[in-house]
Symmetry: C2
DNA sequence: GGCGGAAAGAGAGCAGTGCTCTCGGGATGA
DNA sequence: TCATCCCGAGAGCACTGCTCTCTTTCCGCC
């Protein structure tokens, strides 16, 4: 049962997040200002507080929306590759992360850059959408493993505390992979976002090493090797 | 010739950066406030503008100081390992980056996290100190390569634009390494900071995968392999 | 030793921020 | 029809960066 008032409210909420995204892209996360959003909305600043409890709540909204967008983009890219071609699926995942990050650098910074001062993301709202990419990556690895197409990596001894942590991943993701693969999976996961982050945040310097796209393909090839995805 | 006034000025400058570091650690980069620094300094806000042109200039000061601290820490850690033990040197480098980042998470976020809105780091002041770690990493690889202790990685074809970018690295760092090693070097460099960033920025979740230190050792082992540092 | 000039701090002021409060008008639902 | 409740307006508080002017203080030169 949606009353006209409900619909008007939903429209205004959408407007607010839309304008928020614009400001995020234009001025960055920490510069997100409710007053400015209100101005663009054509409304006085206090009125926005009818819809959003605080600036932090708006940040959380944009955070979740960002995770979902990234997850959707990666899902779509991976789904476009036949399920058996595990290595290509991994490449598609990586490329999707990179191109989404390049399209939405400010949102990417909100998700994976340093924390916004004075703002702590509420885990209960953000962990689920935030784990979509690593989950999918591990699913790709698991699919390859299930058909014997994953080279089991040689890793050093895995201590008990770490093994417990890996059990946490296994149960949270309902995925069955040997410890060695999980460890390498975490390495590859963090490395992937390290590479993307360096490019998006400009660590490669002004010339961006000449050809960042080609460089990224080499990253992916190396990381696929680390994960054990040969063919 | 340092007059008493000069010395007093230098002392005040030190005080300002010291207090700035404190605030950075306590409240984060984007929350750095000149007024708050002035209060802690026991002085009215306008007075600090006698020493620091703007908030951005203070940020740059802290940025350069951070890069230098990190560089010093890494240099010291690597120098403590015999020059021949290339793999151990690489491990020492990685561990030093991680432990410095964990000690100074806010400064780390300033250096490698998302950009502070409205602030663009002046490259001419920050590139030199900012490249100390990758330079040292490549020097380790070069030392291993020079004595034939580096496994040449098998990488895909390297196009011309990327090769030009790699030439830039070679000339900037005055280091002679084959393209393949350089490409892998960049992968390892970005991956290292990806792993450290994930841990420092809390991407591993509240339980931090049980044993982040052990996990990081596995990261390093995998990355040493990517770089070709076997023994 | 004294004095001119430079440096440094004080304080007011402007425009902006997040957020709270109260108030009035108007659509909504009984 | 009418009471209710929602929503926007506006004032206000405490904070921010930064600029300007004014006064004090100290330094170095003659």
């Amino acid at each position: 049962m949606t009353t006209p008032r409900d619909r008007a409210r939903a429209r205004t909420m959408d407007e607010i997040t839309r304008i928020g995204r614009e400001h995020l892209a234009l001025h960055g996360a920490a510069a997100l200002s409710l007053r400015a959003v209100a101005r663009d909305l054509g409304v006085v600043s206090s009125a926005v507080y009818r819809y959003v409890r605080s600036r932090d709540e708006l940040l959380t909204l944009l955070l979740v929306q960002g995770y979902d967008e990234l997850g959707d983009a990666v899902d779509a890219a991976v789904a476009a590759v036949p399920a058996r071609r595990h290595r290509e699926r991994f490449f598609a995942l990586g490329r999707a992360v990179r191109s989404w990050a390049l399209t939405e650098p400010a949102t990417y910074a909100l998700l994976f850059g340093g924390p916004v001062p004075g703002y702590a993301a509420p885990g209960e709202q953000t962990t689920a959408p935030g784990t979509r990419v690593p989950r999918l990556m591990l699913e790709i690895a698991a699919a390859a493993h299930a058909v014997g197409e994953l080279d089991l990596p040689q890793v050093g001894r895995i201590g008990k505390p770490l093994a417990t942590g890996l059990d946490g991943i296994r149960s949270q993701f309902e995925i069955d992979l040997p410890d060695a693969v999980l460890v390498r999976g975490v390495t590859v996961w963090s490395s992937l976002f390290g590479a993307v982050g360096f490019e998006v945040f400009g660590q490669y310097g002004p010339d961006r090493l000449g050809d960042p796209e080609a460089l990224f393909e080499h990253h992916l090839a190396a990381l696929a090797g680390v994960l054990g995805l040969a063919g």
